[in-house]
């Protein structure tokens, strides 16, 4: 009995060591390459998968983010209405994965966000107005890529509070928070090191705030921490339907501390003037409220992105 159980525990210990060694072996081959391998295979075209990609076919990609996929679908349908053949490559993971795909011409169009796209090329780019970021992008992007006009709609980090707290302290902008003691903001832990985190709030607005890390990227747990009163503030993406649903108030940012993230199409040279004009008609119409409404249909009705896109384009008379 003793011998057997000892041998078993030795085997177990050996097994553990093996797993650890295996993990270590993985980490010595470059783990950052693995990310690049993912994504591309996922989510191929729902409508015209398998068709040969001719020179007139535009390949539209999207991030692995439901709201981004709907915007990509808007571009796809408006281009189809214009007579282009479109291939969809949706739900590609991160920027590190899809930007090279655009640079080498495997993708032609992808809905991007101003600030994050600029920081991909210039990590230290300071925050600025959307117009300034848009023109900075013109210089930062490699020759094969360009951005079209940006939309009013934006999906960015925010200092958001409850209606009650805003009223109690007469808050409209982040600056109004100055002097309120013991402010806590629920946000992903990287908020701590972002330029618009506690340090930025202190130096730009004179506001003292501590981060309570809640790691669901402004999702339900972050919202609940705010509505439960565990925190007074939360970093919630401004296009999130939860803001309206919970009667939350996004504090204004008059000094542009938070990087603007207006929706902007990132395209290759294959996108000609006709295609660009079609996409820009969508951009022109896409207001902040529209983006929230679109997201709301996805979150609350679980409607799929193609349906949401068709309905919205119909409403706006774009197809």
């Amino acid at each position: 009995m003793t011998i057997r159980s000892t041998r078993r525990s030795l085997l177990a210990a050996g097994g553990t060591a093996g797993v650890v060694l295996g993990a270590a072996a993985c980490s010595s081959s470059d783990p950052f390459e693995e990310d690049t391998a993912q994504g591309g295979e996922e989510g191929t075209a729902p409508s015209d998968g398998g068709g040969a990609v001719g020179s007139s076919t535009l390949v539209i990609g999207s991030q692995a983010y439901y709201s981004n996929e709907i915007i990509a679908e808007l571009f796809a349908q408006v281009l189809e209405a214009e007579g282009f053949t479109v291939e969809r490559q949706f739900q590609i993971g991160q920027r590190e994965v899809y930007v090279p795909e655009l640079e080498n011409g495997s993708l032609d169009v992808l809905p991007e966000y101003l600030g994050n796209l600029l920081q991909h090329y210039e990590p230290d780019a300071p925050s600025a107005s959307p117009e300034e970021i848009h023109s900075a992008l013109g210089e930062a992007l490699p020759g094969a890529l360009r951005v079209l006009d940006f939309a009013e709609a934006s999906d960015q980090d925010s200092y958001t509070t409850t209606a009650a707290f805003a009223q109690e302290h007469s808050l409209t902008t982040i600056a109004d928070l100055a002097g309120i003691p013991d402010l806590r903001i629920a946000a992903n832990s990287e908020f701590e090191v972002r330029p618009y985190g506690p340090e930025g709030a202190k130096s730009i607005y004179g506001v003292d705030v501590t981060v309570v890390p809640v790691e669901d990227s402004g999702g339900p747990l972050t919202v609940q921490a705010l509505t439960d009163g565990d925190v007074q503030l939360a970093d919630i993406y401004t296009a999130d339907p939860a803001i309206a649903a919970n009667d939350l108030v996004v504090l204004e940012d008059p000094e542009s501390m938070i990087l603007p993230q207006n929706v902007v199409p990132l395209v290759t040279e294959k996108v000609d003037e006709t295609a660009a004009a079609a996409i820009e008609r969508v951009i022109e119409q896409l207001s902040a409220d529209d983006l929230v409404a679109i997201n709301q249909r996805s979150v609350e009705e679980q409607a799929n992105s193609a349906t949401i896109a068709t309905d919205w384009l119909g409403e706006k008379g774009l197809v």
Partner: protein, 220 residues
């Protein structure tokens, strides 16, 4: 340290500034161990008496084995999120999830410990006039103690490796380095956090292996 991710992680850990203050490595390790101890302790208070009861009486074994098996299949991050939605951010939600994680191993350890006693030995004890409680505490538990400790060991290693999730809902522990490193693309910090968790898991595993050996009954 040639700039490999692991080398950079070791450099990150070697910085003396990381070893002081409330977000320093010792403080985070203590939090991590504290959450682990709390989770395993609460789970042990539930699972060990239940496991001993089931092992001794042989009743309800089917249900317990099935429930424990089902509990093993629950994804802990899902539980943390679910419990935090029900009771808010803080330590209670992740702690409950860690208890759910630890119970199956402890339960299996406890009932298999009792079951492992030779029926002839148990019958002999009963024939000598021992009460059922005496049989359990003087015969079955001492004979099966290594298995019981084995269950504790499995539960502890699982929980210590999972306790990083406490940081998902506003707590401390080594998970803070992992989430901050992940979110800010500071991979040396992320790997350092993971390496520290692995080190704790190995140390606890070896310690409990030692205990397991020391508790093996002589002459069996």
């Amino acid at each position: 340290m040639n700039g490999s991710p692991l080398g950079q992680a070791l450099e990150w850990m070697a910085d003396p500034a990381r070893w002081t203050g409330p977000s320093g490595i010792p403080a985070r390790m203590l939090e991590h161990l504290g959450y682990t101890a709390l989770g395993v302790l609460v789970a042990a208070l539930i699972a060990i008496p239940l496991g001993l009861l089931v092992g001794h009486t042989g009743r309800g074994k089917g249900i317990v084995v099935m429930a424990a098996g089902a509990a093993r299949a629950l994804p802990t991050l899902g539980l943390v999120t679910l419990f935090a939605l029900l009771m808010g951010i803080g330590l209670t939600a992740p702690l409950l999830a860690f208890v759910v994680l630890a119970v199956p191993s402890l339960l299996a350890g406890a009932y298999s410990a009792v079951e492992s006693a030779d029926p002839a030995t148990v019958d002999a004890a009963r024939a000598q006039g021992m009460t059922e409680m005496q049989i359990l505490t003087r015969v079955e538990i001492p004979l099966g103690l290594p298995l019981l400790i084995g269950g504790l060991r499995g539960a502890t290693v699982q929980v210590v490796a999972t306790v990083m999730l406490a940081a998902y809902v506003g707590n401390g522990g080594l998970g803070r380095y992992i989430f901050l490193g992940l979110g800010s693309q500071d991979y040396p910090q992320m790997i350092a956090g993971s390496v520290l968790v692995i080190a704790l898991a190995l140390v606890l595993d070896l310690l409990l292996l030692g205990v397991q050996r020391l508790t093996a009954p002589r002459g069996v």
